[in-house]
Amino acid sequence: MSLQARDKEFLALLGPSGSGKTTLLRVLAGLEKPDAGEVRFGGEDFLSLPVRRRRVGMVFQHYALFRHMTVEQNIAFGLTVRSRREKPSRADIRARVADLLSLVQLEGLDKRFPAQLSGGQRQRVALARALAIEPRMLLLDEPFGALDAQVRRELRRWLRELHDRAGVTTVFVTHDQEEALDLADRVAILKDGELIQLGAPNEVYEHPATPFVFDFLGQACRLPGVIEAGRLRIADWESAAPKDAPGGPVEVFFRPDEVDFAPVDGAGLAAEVTGVAQRGPDVRIDCRIEGHAMELIGHGPTLPIGVAPGLSVRIKPFRPQVYAAR
């Protein structure tokens, strides 16, 4: 696979576990050697550079803070290990640490040890530590993986702001599609060590390149269909085929909330409603279409007309994606 991150970009590597995204990140950092291929940074051959010369800031999944050092010592580590010639003075290091502590809003915690911090605080220390060396690239391995849902959502926005301010090319790994779509400039979707699709969050969400991507980026309903002479036929319903759709037998994918409901004598796919459940702002509708059990989602507090358990309706996916049947 080949993948290029643009300057100052926020790039997400998204994939299920085992897709090779963390390995790719570790190759970028220099912690692992690829069997073949090359890694370049601004034209420079990165593979021939040892880890310590790459100046890549990495935030590990479990932060890997130095447990026997205080927050201050952790952040200063990258500066204090420099050779005597490049090492900043003691006062400079202290000033830099203070700057970073205020950047990640951990003032006053400089004398704490990692074990005395919460998960979110540890993550911010790890980030400050990585930023201390003024990295040419920031690598984040599942940056929110070990945090609870609420902290995760809040830190996400904050991280994005931090990235925009620091202006460092950032590559982050995640298995959470919502996170990737929300945060990144571009998303690279990986599967089994291969790059499946690369694009802006909206682009990959609206036009998933493969059934896998469609499935991975959100909930999916799938039905078999046939395309003939520019017409897409699913069961007894026919509509204009989407542009660039392949001919012959196809698999039709659509999001469970991207459907229009119509009365049973209207146009669309015949669906037999088997259950309806109000779920906060949404309505979950269980139904059977062509013998396939399916779960649809209606937005808003009111049920679509004619939808009740035991009744039949017709539904029309308004933005189906079509892939050649395998």
Binding site: A29, G30, L31, V51, R52, R53, R54, R55, V56, G57, M58, F60, H62, A64, L65, F66, R67, H68, M69, F77, G78, V81, R82, D99, L100, S102, L103, Q105, A115, Q116, L117, S118, G119, G120, Q121, R122, R129, A130, A132, I133, Q150, V151, E154, L155, R157, W158, E161, L162, R165
Partner: protein
């Protein structure tokens, strides 16, 4: 650098470390009896012999006891024991750290073989650990003629004692470190590397501080065994008084000479060493329980 707005909930997060309540278990009826029984057995089998050692050593009063310790052979034995430990323990510490480092931070072929080899001295008799050196370097041994030709003495001399001690105390440090280092993983080292630290700096500033207490603990046990080793050392020593007799061998020699006070005086030194080790060990376990516990679960 100016402030970035951080959502309040994240910044007010409470520290993750909460004191873990210790579960108190009420022992059922028979348990106190069992506790008493085990305490009695301990007193009888361990406490009593210890008392006897000091009692016998001081049987004829303090002056003979001190005289036995001031005897040239006794002083030579103490010096030799210290010398052997001073060589064997640091070597095994270095070896133990290297082996534990290799085993816990890297994946390579033959890892399980290496682990088995490290444990080998635990499973073979110390006498065998001594005998192999005689078979290798003794006059009739594999390299015997070569050593005689070049006038190098290994067996029945200090090098033999050191070799035998190293072999017997081989696993102590490594065994203590491996579980701890495996649990710690290699992430902190990786982080240090990405931050620009070299291999040695990483070891000195990240790895070593993380294992220091377990290392000290391992060295302590290794040292106690090195100074107290009898079997392996006995085979390679040759029992030359004042020359190749370590303290445990000195005890045996005196005892065979019916010099009870002398034997027990020397033995009391070893017992004293044991008690000191025990105290240090308890202090370490008490103060650094978390880091050491890993090693003891294996």
């Amino acid at each position: 650098m100016s402030q970035l707005a951080l959502p309040p909930a994240a910044s007010t997060a409470t520290p993750a470390v909460a004191a873990r309540p210790i579960a108190r278990i009420r022992l059922p009826g028979i348990a106190p009896l069992m506790l008493l029984a085990s305490a009695a057995v301990m007193m009888g089998l361990i406490g009593l012999p210890l008392v006897v050692v000091f009692q016998e050593a001081l049987a004829k009063g303090l002056p003979p006891f001190l005289a036995a310790l001031k005897e040239p052979d006794a002083i030579a034995a103490v010096k030799l024991t210290l010398l052997v430990a001073a060589i064997a323990v640091p070597l095994n510490a270095v070896f133990g750290v290297s082996a534990a480092w290799a085993i816990s931070k890297f994946e390579f072929r033959g890892k399980s073989v290496l682990l088995t080899l490290i444990d080998l001295p635990f499973s073979i008799s110390p006498v065998v650990s001594g005998l192999v050196w005689v078979l290798l370097f003794g006059a009739q041994g594999l390299f015997g003629t070569f050593l005689v030709d070049h006038d190098i003495k290994i067996v029945f001399a200090v090098p033999g004692l050191v070799l035998a001690t190293i072999l017997v105390t081989f696993p102590f440090v490594a065994r203590e470190l491996i579980p701890l280092m495996q649990a710690q993983g290699a992430d902190e080292e990786a982080a240090a590397l990405t931050l620009g630290a070299g291999g040695f700096t990483t070891f000195r500033r990240v790895t070593l501080p993380n294992i220091q207490w377990a290392l000290l603990y391992g060295v302590l046990l290794c040292n106690a065994r090195a100074m107290g080793e009898f079997g392996a050392v006995s085979v390679v020593s040759g029992h030359i008084r004042g020359l190749t007799n370590t303290l445990p061998l000195h005890v045996e020699v005196l005892y065979n000479d019916y010099d009870s006070v002398g034997a027990f005086a020397a033995a009391s030194l070893l017992a004293g060493l044991g008690i000191i080790t025990l105290v240090l060990k308890t202090v370490l376990e008490w103060r650094h329980a978390g880091e050491l516990a890993l090693g003891h679960r294996s």
